[in-house]
């Protein structure tokens, strides 16, 4: 009996987004990173092509991250608070595809660093490293608009990925990104309708579909991951079916979410029955990333070196690059 072919054929291609610029392209990055471009659901290579691998970014803060659990600070102890050195260490020792600089120090309810200080930090990080860069604001929309007014031109030509634009705050960052040739992260809070709306707004102010990466939020395993799993899957299905405003690569911020959870943070001393927290935390982070990669994430932002290593190996396996016969 012949087995029927049940594979799906899709009409549309996910947009290709390139991050970073080499000296020939007007930047200073050694290499660029390209995500998207697939014509199939995640890893179903028999249904279409998957020209670009999912990629990893490693998280660096502009200030010493006091809120991080000890186990995530330990690997970087000597460079915390020194973002250029910290970034350099990440690039040299852990080999992520990109770096993600979080400007948490600019938070007006925190250290309230100035836009000038933030721009200086960005310049130093770009000088100290050669990987493409994601620059992510503090999360305070008014302050972020001020900060990016100096940060975006400071990184002009580097084709960074700037974050984030939202439904009620997109004009400033969109205009800056457009002026300085950066890409943007379009953020929506666990809501596919808003995800589509933010993309529509970004297009309205002049962005191209190739300039946008969707961030539908990415709660940790145990904290609503199934909602966003469905959203990512539905977004990708709509994109492949022909909805061009849902056909952008997807980003998941793994480390920032996972290390807020008690399952990742609590030490073995506090909860002996939960086992060794030095293993448990990174496993929680890696497992959360595995789930999002499976549902369509093209870019995952990681925090712990062990989790990053596992995720890179997992991507190799998913893409059939681990040297093992997958049949």
């Amino acid at each position: 009996m012949q087995i029927p072919d049940v594979s799906s054929k899709w009409e549309n291609e996910i947009s290709t987004v390139k991050i970073g610029a080499t000296p020939e392209e007007g930047g200073t990055r050694k290499e660029t990173v390209t995500i998207g471009g697939q014509t199939a659901m995640p890893y179903l290579s028999f249904e279409g092509s998957i020209p670009n691998r999912p990629v990893t970014a490693f998280e660096v803060w502009d200030v010493r991250p006091e809120s991080w659990p000890e186990v995530t600070k330990e690997p970087f102890e000597e460079v915390l608070g020194e973002p250029a050195e910290w970034s350099q260490k990440c690039e040299e020792e852990y080999d992520p595809d990109l770096l993600c600089l979080r400007l948490k120090g600019c938070d007006p309810y925190g250290k309230d660093r100035t836009p000038e200080q933030a721009a200086k930090t960005v310049e130093k990080v770009l000088e100290a490293t050669s990987l493409p860069l994601i620059i992510w604001g503090s999360g305070d929309k008014d302050k972020d608009n001020e900060v990016f007014t100096l940060v975006s031109p400071a990184a002009e030509g580097e084709n960074c990925l700037l974050g984030t634009i939202t439904e009620d705050n997109y004009r400033t960052l969109s205009a800056l990104g457009k002026a300085d040739n950066h890409k943007v992260i379009a953020e929506s809070p666990v809501d596919i309708n808003i995800a589509k709306q933010v993309n529509t707004l970004a297009l309205d102010v002049g962005f191209d579909l190739e300039d946008i990466v969707i961030f539908p939020d990415s709660p940790a395993l145990g904290y609503g991951i199934e909602y966003v799993y469905s959203i990512m899957e539905r977004t990708r299905l709509a994109g492949l079916k022909g909805d061009r405003l849902m056909a952008q690569p997807i980003l998941a911020n793994i480390g920032g979410e996972v290390w807020k959870t008690k399952e990742a943070k609590i030490t073995e001393n506090e909860k002996p029955s939960w086992g060794n927290h030095r293993k448990r935390g990174p496993v929680w982070e890696a497992t959360t990333a595995f789930m999002y990669l499976q549902s369509g994430a093209d870019l995952v932002i990681m925090r712990h070196p062990k989790a990053l290593k596992e995720v890179k190996r997992h991507i190799d396996r998913l893409m059939g690059d681990d040297g093992k016969d997958s049949s």
Binding site: N193, I194, K196, T200, D204, A238
Partner: protein, 262 residues
């Protein structure tokens, strides 16, 4: 919805004059504007102005000079359709064949040969039946012939024939029933299309009748329409209908987004 722009039709006086005088500018403008308005196909119809295949080829080439939108070759004569298909640069649509053997046996093989789609209208020797069963019988015949000739179901459109509401008011509900049943003829079903503007022929509220009937028909399975894509209210109704049917993901600017996606 697959929207087939109806405007390049020599039944309209501007197109009639342009075709007679071979005025390419007028035709190109209609092609460009319909494409911008969101047409997925452009129907090309010579009306009663010409029976010369060379005129159809000229229209096709004229349109292809400005847009790469797929074309719907509106003729039931193989001697007109084939030369036109021969110069079509993208996937095209034959509009149309009836359920009569002599037409089916010429036009469906042409569709297969040129990789085109085809509309089969539920009409036979005695014209178009008005009842549901008559429509379904013709549809079944078209479907069977298409299968025999190896035409993929995705390339078959069945048109159950829209009749003017003003003169045949009872027809509208028959038509809706027919669409509903046609959408179960196979899994997946063929496309189901209608010439929507026929509904409002000679009526006072043309646009309102067209768009109201269109969304009612969408709800029971219509997925293609030959229509006036310049009718903004009709286009907004299509956008809303697709969203209500959950074929598009809702967003607050969904009407604008629908246009962006065209």
């Amino acid at each position: 919805m697959i929207l087939i722009g109806e405007r390049i039709n020599a039944g309209f006086s501007d197109v009639k004059e342009a075709l007679k005088a071979r005025n390419a500018g007028e035709i190109r403008e209609l092609a460009r504007k319909q494409t911008e308005a969101g047409a997925d196909y452009l129907d090309i119809n010579m009306g009663a102005v010409s029976k010369d295949p060379a005129d159809m080829v000229w229209l096709v080439e004229t349109v292809q000079n400005v847009v790469d939108t797929p074309l719907s070759i509106d003729s039931q004569k193989a001697e007109i359709v084939e030369p036109a298909l021969n110069v079509c640069e993208s996937k095209s649509l034959i509009n149309s064949t009836t359920a009569q053997d002599d037409k089916l046996d010429k036009l469906i093989p042409l569709a297969v040969e040129y990789g085109a789609s085809i509309i089969g209208i539920t009409s036979g020797k005695e014209g178009a039946p008005q009842d549901v069963n008559g429509r379904l019988e013709h549809a079944a015949k078209i479907f069977t012939k298409a299968t025999e000739y190896g035409l993929g179901v995705e390339d078959l459109f069945i048109d159950p024939v829209a009749m003017p509401l003003k003169f045949m008011q009872e027809q509208a509900s028959n038509l809706l029933d027919s669409i509903n049943q046609l959408s179960n003829i196979s899994d997946p079903p063929p496309h189901i299309s209608l010439g929507i503007s026929n509904m409002s022929s000679d009526a006072s509220e043309k646009s309102l009748i067209n768009r109201t009937f269109l969304v009612m028909a969408m709800a029971v399975g219509l997925d293609a329409a030959i229509c006036n894509v310049f009718d903004e209210k009709l286009m907004n109704s299509v956008a809303t209908g697709e969203m209500i049917l959950n074929e598009e993901i809702y967003n607050d600017s969904y009407v604008e987004t629908y246009r962006m996606n065209q």
